[in-house]
């Protein structure tokens, strides 16, 4: 039987000035099931709470209605009071008679009668409240970082340093990501390898970090604190435990037809190769597609030359299953395909390159050993033209709508480095806007223009063509000078738009993490929770959440790590008990609820049910309470009413509606 106590707060004069609190307490005291009713100056004060606790004890109350300020203010306070008084904290309802009554209605009669109605609604609701217990689940103290670029490495290092186990899954044969391919980094011009490789080594040596390179995530199951992940470790055809990393195999490999991915295809590598000298792990991999042994069955030179007997042509992909408490997506970026930008002749003219290719050309470890040589004839170019926004800020459907953010700065960097190393080179940059908001960024760009004499031209390139003598003619407009220019260039560098890596979409689906139309992961809140995915236990690091440069990526990687550490440091996860619940007797298993659930909290199971017509097996919805956030979309989508939301059940809301309309 319901025994409800009503507590009306004056809130000093905040409520009492516009609402006749005595009348409210009296009127509500006459309501059915109400056995106690009182008013007090400040219910949230120590004394007010004592009043509630005493009343609970003396009247054996089962439910509490507090008529006070907004539940957003003090619901938690009064729930705590209730629990201290010995009743379930979820047996408390608040009638908001301050923000939504006394403060907005001047007329005391109207405000008082509204306060009574709001009180009645709360009483009506509390009659149907059920004691709820906060759910708990364990936490696997291990994190998974997907992606081994700077974002993933930094996140993993930070988590590992805090004492938790971390696994990194990287699809390439080595960690390092895009940053490993870069030459210098803006705005300080320190060399990328010099700052990245120590971190790579640290990650490999760290006792808490395990690397799965040349591996991909195949399946993710479970929920926050309890993920179960299948990782496919692709066959390298090299036994990692035996290989000494001497590199003899790569030197002897007779196949030289495959483009070297690390050098963006500017030179060739063997079929067995180590991506680059500082690769981690320093273990080669066989590219079976180009390997002569795999194609013809004859060769095996690498095997003959391997002193460690590490080559194993019969190796198979391996599936590793592991449990994790948290998952970090750090899948990084790639640059867009430029096939749709015929006007720049990227594929037609070898001397039109992307910035990433230029990065390799300028890199001392690159295909030209750092000498500026153009790809077509190896000549040192005398005139360079940089084109920005190639596919960025493009709404025509050929590129991406967003600003790729990093291009302005790396173009300034390239221009500056070129002028520094080769002062006799003319460098032109076509730009739409130079976006350099960042610490020392604008100064950096201005230095390129002012000290290094880079010619910045506001305008875009409309066409690149060959003049017939092997020269690239770059025609563009200078819209400040209001003239059309044609520059005879030796080499053109395109700042192609950056996009999330292709693997992000399928990963998002596996993680049930939401993504935007550009395949960037969506954050739980754009301002206040920028490193968390709306899917609990999934965190975001680096470019996969939105365009970022290195310092921002590292900052976000650290932030994601802190969130992971915060999660893993808990032994038990408490969950909001106001979650959806499905009645297996009524559920038809139609899947409507599953389709509207934003968190993937609903699954289906075969249940043995007997609704009075005999025992049978039915497919019914099951809510994973650790994953459910309690939005109630499923409850409204369920035609039979089998799905309901605890704390906001249909019955409770009907009771409130009835009380309000009485």
């Amino acid at each position: 039987m319901n025994r409800i106590g009503v507590f009306v707060c004056h809130c000093g004069s905040n409520i009492a000035a516009a609402v006749d609190v005595k009348q409210v307490a009296e009127a509500l005291g006459r309501e059915q099931n109400v056995v106690f009713s009182a008013e007090y100056q400040y219910m949230c004060s120590e004394n007010g709470q004592k009043l509630i606790k005493n009343a609970v004890k003396e009247n054996a109350l089962t439910g509490i209605v507090v008529c006070s300020c907004s539940p957003r203010m003090h619901e938690a306070t009064f729930r705590k009071t209730a629990s201290e008084a010995g009743i379930n904290p979820y047996m408390v309802e608040i009638a908001n008679i301050r923000e939504q009554c006394s403060w907005v209605h001047k007329d005391i009669t109207a405000a008082t009668s509204k306060a009574i109605i709001l009180g009645r609604a709360a009483i009506a609701k509390v009659r149907f409240n059920e004691p709820l217990t906060v759910g708990e689940s364990g936490v696997t103290k291990r994190a998974l970082v997907i992606g081994g670029g700077i974002a993933g490495i930094q996140t993993a290092l930070d988590i590992a340093d805090a004492g938790y186990k971390v696994d990194i899954v990287e699809k390439k044969p080595t960690i390092g990501g895009k940053m490993a391919q870069l030459d210098k980094t803006f705005p300080t011009l320190d060399c990328a390898a010099c700052i990245l490789t120590p971190k790579m080594v640290e990650a490999a040596r760290h006792e808490n970090i395990k690397l799965y390179t040349y591996s991909e995530v195949e399946e993710v199951k479970g929920y926050v604190g309890n993920f179960s992940v299948k990782i496919r470790k692709k066959a390298r055809y090299v036994r990692e435990n035996l290989c000494s990393g001497c590199g003899a195999c790569a030197l002897k490999c007779p196949s030289r037809n495959s483009g070297n991915e690390f050098n963006t295809g500017l030179d060739k590598r063997g079929a067995i190769y180590i991506p680059f000298a500082q690769a981690i792990p320093n273990i080669p991999v066989i590219d079976a597609e180009h390997c002569i042994k795999f194609r013809t069955g004859k060769c095996g030179l690498c095997q003959m030359n391997c002193a460690a007997q590490a080559i194993d042509f019969s190796q198979k992909d391996e599936i590793i299953e592991e449990k994790y408490g948290a998952i970090v997506a750090a899948t990084g970026f790639d640059i867009i395909n430029l096939d749709k930008f015929g006007e720049y002749g990227y594929k037609t003219y070898p001397d039109v390159v992307t910035s990433l290719e230029f990065e390799r050309i300028m890199n001392a470890a690159g295909p030209t050993k750092g000498h500026l040589e153009r790809p077509s004839d190896g000549r040192q170019p005398k005139t360079l033209v940089f084109v920005q926004c190639v596919g960025s800020r493009d709404t025509s459907g050929r590129g991406k709508e967003y600003c790729s953010k990093i291009c302005c700065m790396y173009t300034a960097k390239h221009a500056m480095l070129t002028r520094e190393k080769y002062p006799d080179t003319d460098v032109y940059v076509f730009y739409i806007d130079v976006r350099a908001p960042g610490k020392n960024f604008d100064e950096f760009y201005r230095r390129a223009a002012e000290q290094y004499g880079v010619h910045y031209i506001k305008g875009m390139v409309g066409k690149i063509y060959d003049d017939g003598n092997g020269n690239l003619m770059v025609r563009g407009s200078d819209i400040i000078a209001n003239e059309q220019l044609t520059i005879k260039a030796d080499m053109v560098i395109l700042a192609a738009a950056a996009k999330p890596d292709d693997s992000a979409r399928s990963l998002g689906t596996m993680l049930t993490a939401s993504m935007d139309t550009n395949d960037f992961f969506t954050e739980a809140h754009p301002k206040l929770r920028p490193v968390e995915s709306p899917t609990a236990g999934v965190f975001l690091s680096g470019f996969c959440q939105g365009p970022k440069d290195i310092p921002e990526t590292v900052a976000q990687a650290g932030a994601a790590a802190v969130k992971v550490i915060g999660l893993l440091s808990k032994d038990r996860l408490k969950s909001n008990p106001c979650v959806a619940r499905s009645d297996s007797l009524i559920c038809s298993g139609c899947s409507n609820c599953e389709k509207v659930c934003p968190f993937g909290a609903i699954t289906y199971a075969d249940a043995r049910v007997n609704d009075g017509t005999g025992m049978e097996t039915r497919r019914v919805a099951v809510v994973n309470e650790a994953v459910c956030h309690g939005c109630g979309a499923c409850a409204a989508a369920c035609p039979s009413g089998a799905m309901d939301l605890m704390g906001f059940t249909s019955k409770q809301i009907f009771a409130e509606v009835d009380a309000v309309c009485r």
Binding site: R98, E99, C631, G632, A635, E656, V657, V660
Partner: protein, 160 residues
């Protein structure tokens, strides 16, 4: 089509009576906890007044609102029902209000199709920062309902 005897008495007045002096409308507002309920609180903090006839029912998300809740309010004598949620794209649960938008568009379309005055139902997107919008929306809606008068077409006659 034949109109049988039973419903002739229920037919709406040919000339709807202009709202009489004593009529005070009853308005039920379903507000999502994260945006619109907070917006209502903000209207309170800013002392932005709106009619006391507006009674707010808190729901976690606008997508919790089942069409039956709205119909129940009308059954029990509400003259107008307004549903307020986060702006599309800002839902606390990321996609809830997109479903609300479809459900309510289609529900209201059906009510209109059945001859229920469409002005009596409404969906508004009110963020936690839009206290002023909350107050002005409620003022405007209450005024509209006032001019429409008592809801006679979708109520339980026993409750009127």
């Amino acid at each position: 089509m034949q109109i049988n005897e039973k419903d002739k008495s229920n037919r709406p007045n040919e000339n709807p009576v202009p709202s009489d002096e004593n009529f005070t409308p009853l308005i039920v507002a379903f507000c999502c906890n994260w945006c619109s309920y907070a917006g209502a609180d903000l209207a309170g903090s800013g002392r932005l007044s709106y009619p006391a006839e507006v009674k707010i029912i808190r729901v976690p998300c606008s997508c919790r609102v089942n069409p039956t809740f709205i119909l129940r309010a009308f059954q029990k004598g509400a003259d107008g029902v307004i549903l307020a949620g986060c702006h599309p794209g800002d839902c606390h649960y990321s996609t809830g209000n997109y479903f609300t938008r479809r459900r309510m568009t289609l529900l209201f379309s059906m009510l209109d199709y059945m001859g229920i005055e469409k002005e009596r139902t409404r969906v508004e997107w009110i963020s936690a920062a839009e206290g002023a919008k909350f107050a002005s929306t409620m003022n405007e809606f209450a005024e509209k309902i006032n001019s429409l008068g008592k809801c006679r077409r979708l109520g339980d006659l026993r409750c009127v």
